[in-house]
Every structure is written in C-alpha cells, then in structure tokens.
Amino acid sequence: MTLNRFMSTGVRRRSVLGGMAAVGAAAAMPRRIRAQETITLRWWSPQSSPEQLAAYETQMRNFEAQHENVQVVFERTSDEGYAPQLAAAFASGDVPNIVTHLPSFAVSDYWSAGLLEPFNDVIDMVGPENYYEGANQIYEIDPGVYAGTGIGNSAANMLWLRTDLMEQAGIDEAPRTWDQLRDAVSRMQGGGIFGAPLPYGRNSMTSLIFIGVIHQAGGQVFSPDLQVAIDSDETRNALEFYRSMREYCPPGATNYSWGESLTAFVSGATATGIYTGRVLINVANQNPGIADYIDCVLYPTVSEDVPAWTFNDFPSVFIPRQASNMDVTKQFAAFLFDPEGYIQQLHAAPGHVLPVLWTISENPEYLDNPIIERYTPQVDLMAAAAAEGYNLGWESQGHQPNVKAGEIINSNVISEMVQRVVLNDENVDQVLSDTSSRLEEIMGS
C-alpha cells in the first residue's frame, strides 16, 4: 500500500515516509494473508456507553444475519484519542471501514486531505428525501459531493436547570440573558451547591463552549469568507462574561471537560448544567431524586436582541477512502439508519443524539420511550435547537465550511485564550492579538 503510493506520487507532493517504510519492510516476513472466507468490517466510534454498545451490537448482528460471511467488529476510540489513532491509521493505510460520531469538522478536515470516500451512494441508499432539509449541507464541501453524513444531531450547550432550586431561590422564569443567568446562579449558589459547571480547562470542551459564548455575545470567530474575526468587542464581552461566571463554578472547573461538567450537574453539585440531552438518562440512572426537577432551555445570550446560538457538533458517519470491501461497507453505513437498530441507538441516550431523519422522529417506535415521553417538551426543544445549530466548521448559514476547524479545536488556541484571560488575568488586547495570529497561522498552514 505504502509502496504503491510511493511509486505513483508526483514530483512535488511526495509520500515522505513511503520509501523508508518499504525499506523497513524488506527485512520483513511475508505479509499476513488476509482470510478470504469472511469479510471483516471495522467500525470505530467514540460514543460507547453500555446502552449504546448494546444498540451497536443489535445493528451488527442484524447486518451479519443478512450478509453471510460478513463480520462487523466494533472498536472504541475517544474524543481525545481519535486524532492520533486515525492519523496512524490513515498514514499506514490500515483504516477502519466506518467511523461514526466524530464531529463534522473532523470529517471536513480529512476530506480536504483527500482521505475520505464520497458519501453520495450511501445517502442515496438511505433516501435523501428522508433527511431533514439541509441536514447534509455541511458535508457538501465540494459542490455535489458529500464527505459524510450525519448520524444524528446534538444540542450540546443547552442550559440545564434545577426547578426545585429555582423555586427555593424565588426565581420564576428561566434566564434569557446573561444578567438574568448571573443573577439566578448567584441566588442558587450556596449550601455546598455551586451555580454552574462551565469548563475552564485546556481542552476541546472549553474551546467549543466558548465559541458558543462568542456567538451569544453577537460575535464570530471567522467572517463568512473565513477571515479571522475573533479580535472584536463581542469577544471581549464574552470573555468578561465568562470571567464573571468563574466564581459560580466549582474550583476544579479549571480542569472540567464534558464528563466532569455533566457529572457535576447530575450529581447535584451545581444548580445549572451545560450539556446535551444525555443529562436525562444519567439523572434517571444515577440521581433519580432530582428527575422531577430538571428542565432545559437555550443558553442565554448577552441581550434579548441576540438570538440563541446552539452548538451542534453534528455527529457524523464517514468512510475512509482506503477502506477495504467498499461495497459492503457502504451497505453497512446505510444499514445504520435502518429503523430498528437506529432507534435503539437513539434510545440508548434519548435526547443526546437526535435523529437526522424526519421519518424516524415521527416513527411511533421512536416516540415510545419512557424518557422521551416524560420529557417531551425538552426533547422537542433540543431537536428544534439542534436543527438550527452550528459549530466552528460552519458558523452560520452564510459561512463557508471551515476545514481547519478540527485543528483549531485540537490546538487548544481558544481554550488557552480563555485560560489566559480568566485564570491568569492577562491583558485582553494582547491575548486577542496573539490568538488572532495563531489562528491565522493554522489557517495558512
């Protein structure tokens, strides 16, 4: 594989390691002979809670039942670990057949490097008419060709509230603006309960959430034609707000990522939360005592004039170009959307991953779930919010897709900016100008 690429590459772009790997291989034993009798498909995902695994199991066994001599194996990866794992896989050509639940910007990054198989065939098999309108827009990086498709939607920055604590504090309405939010959390904080679990860590969650805050201030990270636009009054405003929230967050929030933030709200340590609908099932499993007192709304913005901005990481499906057995792989990718398995997958954490097919949202079997029934308004709200959600790869309807979004998130440029201002109290102008130049450097590389 590497050898072939080495021989066929052009003059200017060349496979740097190809030749060396081939030399290394010369000393090698004969290549392992791939068993011809059964085809093995490898499926990677960072989403692997026990309930989800059970759903995947159903999907894999159902598919195997329909296809003799096909075997599907699931291999878990993680949000922090997928980058090196996929890098190694792509570099060597030893890739998984199908990868699900990575954020859409990871897809556009790999697509722009020519590493992915066009997804049009699969979308045709699923039926384009079944998707919500525009659901695949962010995967259309080159006109007419799709880099992947969504396996779901998520509304990842919902504001979760404890209605019992609100009542105690004499708050009757869910906060709509930052001022109201600050007021609410300051009144609810106390007696060992903190106001909010906002992340201040050097990690992807802090970057992703803060990008939302910039938009909630009315700002943006890039202009629609992808010029760096982060050095703005809106960002200053957002940093100021984020700094002011620090005193309402637990001391350890400086290391919070998704897991810690979620656990803080679910365990009852904070009065508000910021997460997807995963909260619902975790509360049911781990702290059923508060199940009657949780609610969610869109995250507040600087003022009523600025619309809410929902962060949807657009959990995706894609197929590496080098994957083996492409036909079966595509069939399997389409099979993931088969109602039986797909609904079980969605039910594994109701409201966490929301359907991308309207035919599923209206399917009685999907609606027949205790959590979805119990929290119907909340699930509907999240579905609507997610449908209008964005992320750094696609900041607004008018923005061009940003194929460098994945690298920007992974580089921690944004979360470092937050830490420098909030934790280290550095000069905001200086920090913003540094951040701008680092962003430009990444965009230019």
Partner: protein, 275 residues
C-alpha cells in the same frame, strides 16, 4: 529510654509509610462505596455501606477481564523476549572481545534518550508493513524500544558482578563457552535476571502511549488504555468503577511483588549498579 526512642522511631516511620500508602487505602475504600455515597460532601472516611457491586459489574458487564488477559500476555511476552535477548547480549558485551564492543555499549545508553512520541508513527507504519498492526505482537515490539536498552544495561552490570574465575575454571575443565554460560553464569546471574524481569514487567504493564495509538480493538487492548477509554468518557466518569478497576489492576501485582520484593533489592545491591 531506649524503648521510648524505638517507639518514637517506629511511630514516625510508620506514619510516613501510611502517608505514602494512603492513596492505595483510599482507592480501596472508594471502590467499596455505593455510587450515591461517593458524591457526599464532605466525603465519608469509611464506607457507611460496603458494596462489591462495582467489582461485580466490572467482571460481568465490561471487557475488563479481556484487557487484563491482554496486559498479562503483553507484559509477560515483552519480559521474556527482552530478558532473553538482554542476557545473551550482555554476556557478549561483557565477556567477549571484538571490535566495536565499547561503541555498542555506549549506543545502548543513548537509546534511552529517545522520546516515545517520536517513534510512534514510523513504528506504526512498520507494524502495518509487517502485518502486525492491531496485534499484541506490535505492542511487544514497541515496548522493546524502551525495555531492551534498560534490561541490557541492568544485565550488563549484573554480569560484571559474576566473578570471571568461575567461568575460566569451567573452561579449563573442558566446557564450551555456551556450556559455561548455561551451567556457571546463568545460576549466578539468576537474581539479576529476576530483578531485571520485574523491572521490565513493570515498565510494560504501565505503558500507555503506544497502547493508545498502536491497537484499537478491545480484543487486544491492554488495561491501561482499556480502562481509560471505557470509563472516562464525555458522558460519564464512574469514579467507583474506576477505583474498583484500579484495585483489580494493582492487587495481583502487589501480591506477586510482595513475594519477589527481596529480589528487586538483592540483585540491585550486589555491587551491580555501575555506570
């Protein structure tokens, strides 16, 4: 007076020892608490209710046992591979004269300096070319990168501690070099070999980065990355399960090492540690 001094000394030392061991104690205590008791503020020092459900869940509902088996196979294979190579290599480096021997010995020391991060991608490519990707064998080879230089260096010092007369005597009696190695040197070297094996085993058992990048399927994942990806995720951090897993990852080792502990120190002592 003497008694008092002795008491004071024992008390002082044991307080220090217990401080060092406190994380172990806390790990065990936490793993016995039910999930609801974990999130109590302030924490309960002793569990109010003792439960073994976390252990049970780990053993029955998760691939923990598979990871455990992988780790055992991985660490054992690495240890055997490295110690055999190292013992023979050290014998050659210490007891034979040939050109380039000193240079080789120095080079071994320099290979310590290599950071794992930079070897990963080339190593991974090589594993794919060898048809070893996603196998325990690839991890064994990768662990060799840090384990072999260390083992070779340790065994070399141990070998220097074996009196040369013994071998000469055997040779005079008509033994071949390899015969002398087997009958005379190996028995003398045994404490050193056990000691080296223990250190290698620990290094391999603890390794995280290579395991993260080189293998992906649960069937071959070792404990370190297995437990991390299984239990620390974006959707939940199950501290009680994590602590139960930590206990189960550590206890077998502690039991084994409690028995072999004296080898660690004995071998290291015998005038062996030289540059």
């Amino acid at each position: 007076m003497r008694i008092l001094r002795k008491l004071g000394f024992n008390l002082f030392t044991w307080i220090l020892v217990l401080l060092v061991a406190f994380p172990l104690v806390w790990m065990i205590l936490t793993s016995l608490k039910p999930q609801t008791e974990l999130f109590r503020i302030p924490p309960t020092w002793l569990p109010e209710t003792v439960t073994f459900e976390h252990y049970w869940r780990l053993l029955t509902e998760t691939p923990f046992l598979i990871y455990f088996r992988n780790s055992v196979v991985l660490a054992t294979t690495t240890t055997v591979f490295v110690v055999v190579l190292g013992a023979i290599g050290a014998y050659s480096l210490v007891r034979f004269a040939y050109r380039g021997r000193e240079t080789l010995a120095t080079l071994v020391l320099f290979t310590y300096l290599l950071p794992s991060v930079v070897l990963i991608i080339p190593l991974y490519l090589m594993m794919v070319e060898l048809g070893l990707s996603n196998t325990l064998a690839s991890l064994v080879l990768a662990h060799t990168t840090f384990a072999l230089p260390y083992a070779l260096w340790l065994l070399r010092s141990f070998m220097e501690g074996v009196p040369e007369d013994l071998e000469s005597a055997a040779l005079v009696d008509g033994a071949s070099r390899m015969g002398a190695f087997r009958d005379v040197i190996l028995p003398q070297l045994l404490p050193g070999i056990i000691s080296t094996a223990l250190f290698t085993f620990i290094l391999s058992w603890n390794e995280y980065l290579y395991a993260l990048v080189l293998v992906n399927s649960d069937a071959v994942r070792p404990l370190t990355t297995g437990v991390m990806t299984m239990l620390i995720s974006a959707f939940n951090i199950e501290w009680s399960l994590l602590m139960a897993a930590s206990v189960m990852m550590s206890l077998p080792l502690i039991v084994v090492f409690a028995f072999l502990q004296s080898y660690l120190t004995r071998g290291f002592g015998a005038g062996a540690v030289k540059g």
